[in-house]
Amino acid sequence: MGGWAIAVHGGAGVDPNLPLERQEQAKQLLTRCLNLGISALRSNLPAIDVVELVVRELETDPFFNSGRGSALTEKGTVEMEASIMDGPKRRCGAVSGLTTVKNPISLARLVMEKSPHSYLAFSGAEDFARQQGVEVVDNEYFITKENVGMLKLAKEAKTILFDYRIPTAGLETCSAGVDSPIVMNGLPISVYAPETVGCVVVDSQGRCAAATSTGGLMNKMTGRIGDSPLIGAGTYACDLCGVSCTGEGEAIIRGTLAREVAAVMEYKGLGLQEAVDFVIKQRLDEGQAGLIAVSRNGEVACGFNTTGMFRGCATEDGFMEVGIWE
């Protein structure tokens, strides 16, 4: 048995021209979240508590696309989704279509523990939040001025998806995206939306857990569900490993990406990094995505075929890394 290990991400697919100041902010946030997770692991919190704790922190900070700072729907509202999974018994909980719940990941945890179901969505999920007494806020709380501006740009460019960090002046960058559209689900779109957040942890007892949370795509249709809340797609954990994915949701769903990492370990006997590499190379087809993973032996791995991924990881033996580019 190895020691504990933790990885966090803040989305795959980074604007290559992202200002250095913004890169620095991202790294600081990832480092802060890693440290929060590390001290929780040192206090012997179980993996499931640690992933929830870290994702709450990422949701609460407006920097990435989850909780406060979530991307906006075509109607200018926020619809958040999240899921969490505990490796040992593969218990899981998921939520979609949240508009007032401050920390979606904690509601996903409550679905897992306090409801007979695995997945609640939209008004039913909101009712459950009130019944459980979790903190709720006005939808305005989640909406940042920056995202309002980016939604306007996305609408002008008629793209469903939009990297919100592309500067306002950079409509050239945007039209470049439109000229050579990525095809998603058979239809052309522009840049995929990054910045979903996630955390995977193995604790010193070898228990794995995974959690993922997102605001979804900028200018998405209301009611759209992406990969983040789907067990086996955006999030998966079992006895062997914990996985959280990010990137082009539709490609991740079709590739059942998170489950795939575990499946090639289980059925093909691959090691964690081998499994991650295999899945990124063979399972995404044209899609663009990234993922983080830990194994019960205390290994940590990440992989992506996008331009960069906001990520950080640490292991018990003192290794720690925070990065954006390859």
């Binding site: 899981c92 409801s115 179901h117 695995s118 008004s123 689900n185 086996g232 059942t256 499946a263």
Partner: protein, 320 residues
């Protein structure tokens, strides 16, 4: 090689004592739907069209828990969900939380073909249905007197359970089972392969009786209730929460792909991997094999292959 088709009308604790007046209409419906699918395959229709057509027919039949005949959530409403997937391209579409759409499966297909997304739910899905002009009706169309009765029974059963049995953490993690009935049953699905090896799958459901409003089950989740690739097509049914955590449909394909198992072995392994009494599935392979394992008391099912084999069943057949 050759075409093959299988369909199901739900797996669960179907009592061997199921009265003939409840068994016969379902067997007839399975036979009728199988016939429609077989004719469509023989006529050379694309497999995606075939699975959609068969599931529409199953949805329209009030004997099953999908479309008309959907079971009711705890507040007495229907909330339907469905999912469709094409094996060759792995294109897929899913919907949840529908209240007025006559054929959920056809809306799932439109999500796949007319939106850049895979999955739309609740109000957004209803708005999309109107935009696409699919047939919608008043919610009352879906509600049958039998299902009102089932909801009342379920509420009664839950109350009894709460009164006499303190809920334990274990209870919280299991869907509450309702004694003496088939009331949770009836998710429908269809898988098909044509004689060129093209595969497709479709699943549709009303969920389960007395479910919480907003509950999403395994049916619309790619890899859980529904999955197809270039090796096989799978539609699962049973207790949604167990199927989600077991990623049952994807596991059949993963076992074939990564472990080299045959369709039959992979499907049996996947069903054995989830707790007893929780799941059944139908699957076809690219080479025209068909299998329909379940670990529940029974599963309403039917299949046919090009070489003339055909089966309609509810409980385990003697040769199994």
């Amino acid at each position: 090689m050759g075409w093959a088709i299988a369909l199901h009308g739900g797996a669960g604790e179907i009592p061997l004592s199921l009265p003939v007046e409840r068994r016969k209409p379902r067997e007839d419906a399975l036979r009728h739907c199988l016939q429609i699918g077989v004719e469509a395959l023989k006529a050379g229709n694309p497999v995606l069209d075939v699975v959609e057509l068969v599931v529409r027919e199953l949805e329209n039949n009030p004997q099953f828990n999908a479309g008309k005949g959907s079971v009711l959530s705890c507040n007495g409403d229907v909330e339907m969900e469905a999912c469709i997937m094409d094996g060759k391209t792995k294109k897929c579409g899913a919907v949840s939380g529908l209240k007025t759409v006559v054929n959920a499966i056809s809306l799932a297909r439109l999500v796949m073909e007319k939106t850049p997304h895979i999955y739309l739910a609740f109000d957004g899905a209803e708005a999309f249905a109107r935009e696409q002009g699919v047939e919608t009706v008043d919610s009352s169309y879906f509600v049958t007197p039998e299902n009102i009765e089932r909801l009342n029974q379920a509420k009664e059963a839950n109350r009894t359970q709460l009164d006499y049995t303190p809920p334990t953490p274990k209870d919280l993690n299991n869907e509450k089972s309702i004694p003496n009935g088939d009331s949770q049953l009836g998710t429908v699905g269809c898988v098909a392969v044509d004689n060129e090896g093209n595969l497709a799958t479709a699943t549709s459901t009303g969920g389960f009786v007395n479910k919480m409003v907003g509950r999403i089950g395994d049916t619309p989740i790619i890899g859980a209730g529904t999955y197809a690739n270039n090796l096989c097509a799978v539609s699962a049914t049973g207790k949604g929460e167990a199927i989600i955590r077991g990623t049952v449909a994807r596991d059949v394909a993963a076992l074939m792909e990564f472990k080299g198992l045959s369709l039959k072995d992979a499907a049996a392994y996947a069903v054995d991997s989830v707790p007893k009494g929780t799941a059944g599935l139908i699957a076809v392979s690219a080479t025209g094999e068909v299998t329909m394992p379940f670990n529940t008391l029974g599963m309403f099912r039917a299949c046919a292959t090009e070489d003339g084999y055909s089966e309609i069943g509810i409980w385990p057949s003697i040769k199994n």
